[in-house]
């Protein structure tokens, strides 16, 4: 057994020890293993194996002993080091212990979980809120539970994996429309048979390219077709709309959206997921939604930090303004340097730099890291239409000086790799 444990983390031994017998279930991954090895053999660092040794603030960490600006987190509103948030977590840890060891429907609902749901209801102005253990599970639960075999889920082709997985877990009929195309959605809604329920699934911000959905038009055509509408605001919460509720608030369609899905792992700054709604029968989901019932609830410290953060986000207008300022400046600055960006202007706090291929993308990623800024590298199949990109996400806590430094590092990395002349 000790041998097995010793070799488990050693990629070299992993391939050397490949079993020779027929039917190795891992042989389906051979192409991916080979591609990864070929990439690492060129001497670059593994973009998917980075370790942050120390985290100093929402925007600064130590990576391989070097102080590094974080430009690849989802910490949009910079709440992870907020003193009130941290204090709430410490107090809950002392008062309620380290974990609940139970499901929300058995021994896993504490005072803190109810307070967190109250904070969400207040933030969204809805009658109901349900807290899940992750945002992934919130989508998994909603999609798989409310649409049955006779019902139709109509979703954007670029939907997040958690939406697709929720559809795969349920029994509904799944129809896709071309990304962000109102016409394509409308055409498909018109082709649906008269019988069966309809659920249109949209996202406020699409996380790979940072583009936003034309929600006003999409929600209108969905409602004209008699569909219920869910909007996932994972990357929009905290930042869009007068109250920071998301893109659907800014689009003015709050009264027509039936469900909003969200996460605590982005602007809220911890981990967890939720669905809010005004549907009168919403609470029944607590009994029938398997990803809610058959998993442990969030630790008391996590729901305490989430609730505190959500209450503060409601009044974070100044932070929202600064985050927009940072996003617009980075977008403009990168364009001026000669980079190709995924959106014509800054539509969200995600700025995606498009690059021609994997080799250039990895070399740029590494050059940036060596200069002192961490961004996300993304590649197919996570990205749409076979694109390779460096995804930058800004934080309300990035100072103007840091944004200037980041632009300087992009210029240096672009020249060092030969991408910029």
């Amino acid at each position: 057994m000790t041998d097995a444990i010793a070799t488990a983390d050693d990629p070299a031994r992993e391939t050397a020890a490949a079993p020779s017998h027929r039917g190795d279930l891992f042989s389906k991954f051979d192409a991916l293993i080979a591609e990864r090895e070929a990439l690492l053999d060129t001497g670059v660092r593994d973009p998917f194996g980075l370790v942050m040794e120390k985290v100093h603030s929402p925007t600064l960490a130590t990576v391989k002993g070097k102080e590094t600006i974080l430009l690849g987190t989802y910490n949009y509103m910079g709440m992870t080091f907020d003193p009130d948030v941290i204090q709430a977590g410490k107090d809950a840890l002392d008062a309620y212990g380290s974990g609940t060891t139970g499901s929300r429907v058995l021994n896993g609902t504490y005072q803190g979980h109810k307070e967190c749901e109250e904070a969400l209801k207040d933030f969204y102005g809805t009658a109901h809120a349900m807290v899940f253990s992750t945002g992934y599970q919130a989508n998994l639960g909603l999609m798989s539970t409310i649409a049955g075999k006779e019902d139709y889920i109509i979703l954007d082709a670029d939907s997040h994996a958690s939406i697709y997985d929720g559809c795969a877990m349920g029994n509904a009929q799944i129809v896709r429309f071309r990304h962000n195309s109102v016409d394509d959605l409308e055409k498909r809604l018109k082709r649906l048979p008269a019988e069966g329920g309809r659920l249109v699934v949209l996202e406020g911000v699409y996380s790979m390219l940072g583009d936003i959905a034309p929600l006003a038009d999409m929600v209108r055509v969905a409602k004209e077709a008699g569909a219920m509408v869910v909007v996932d605001e994972a990357h929009g919460m905290g930042f869009f709309g007068p109250n920071g509720r998301g893109v659907f608030e800014e689009a003015g369609v709050e009264d027509q959206v039936d469900f909003v899905v969200g996460t605590f792992s982005k602007s809220v700054g911890t981990v967890g997921g939720f669905v809010v709604s005004n549907h009168p029968k919403f609470e029944v989901l607590r009994l029938v939604c398997r990803p809610y019932v058959f998993t442990a609830s969030l630790p008391p410290s996590v729901v305490a930090t989430a609730a505190t953060s959500i209450r503060k986000l409601k009044f974070a207008g100044n932070k929202r303004a600064h985050l927009w300022e940072n996003s617009k400046r980075l977008h403009q600055g990168l364009r001026d340097l000669g980079f190709t960006l995924a959106t014509p202007e800054a539509q969200s706090a995600i700025i995606a730099v498009l690059l021609p291929d994997q080799d250039m993308t990895v070399r740029m990623w590494q050059a940036l890291l060596e200069a002192g800024v961490y961004v996300n590298m993304a590649r197919p199949p996570a990205t749409p239409a076979g694109t390779y990109l460096l995804r930058c996400s800004l934080c309300a806590e990035h100072s103007s000086e840091q944004v200037g430094q980041i632009l300087g590092m992009f210029e240096a990395a672009g020249k060092a790799t030969g991408y910029l002349s």
Partner: protein, 82 residues
């Protein structure tokens, strides 16, 4: 020429822009194996078939369709239902 033949020809025309290797199309030509399409191409292609015939091919149905012949049969069935 039967209705099915006409459908086959229309489907073949829609495959053309995605048939980069110029694979010769027959009833048993498979999308994953012969045409080597990935999920992104499939999405684009399915949308174009749906629009050409004014039908919906759900992802549930797509999972059962592996060859050109099976797709033509599915299109015929869906058109007759509609």
């Amino acid at each position: 020429m039967t209705d099915r033949d006409q459908t086959f020809d229309k489907v073949a025309k829609l495959i053309e822009p995605f048939n980069k290797k110029g694979v010769k199309l027959g009833e048993t030509t498979s999308f994953a194996g012969d045409l080597e399409w990935d999920s992104l191409i499939v999405m684009d292609f399915v949308a174009s078939v749906e629009d050409e015939f004014d039908i919906l091919i759900t992802m549930n149905m797509q999972a059962e369709i592996e060859t050109v012949g099976q797709l033509v049969d599915a299109v015929e069935r869906l058109r007759n239902e509609g």
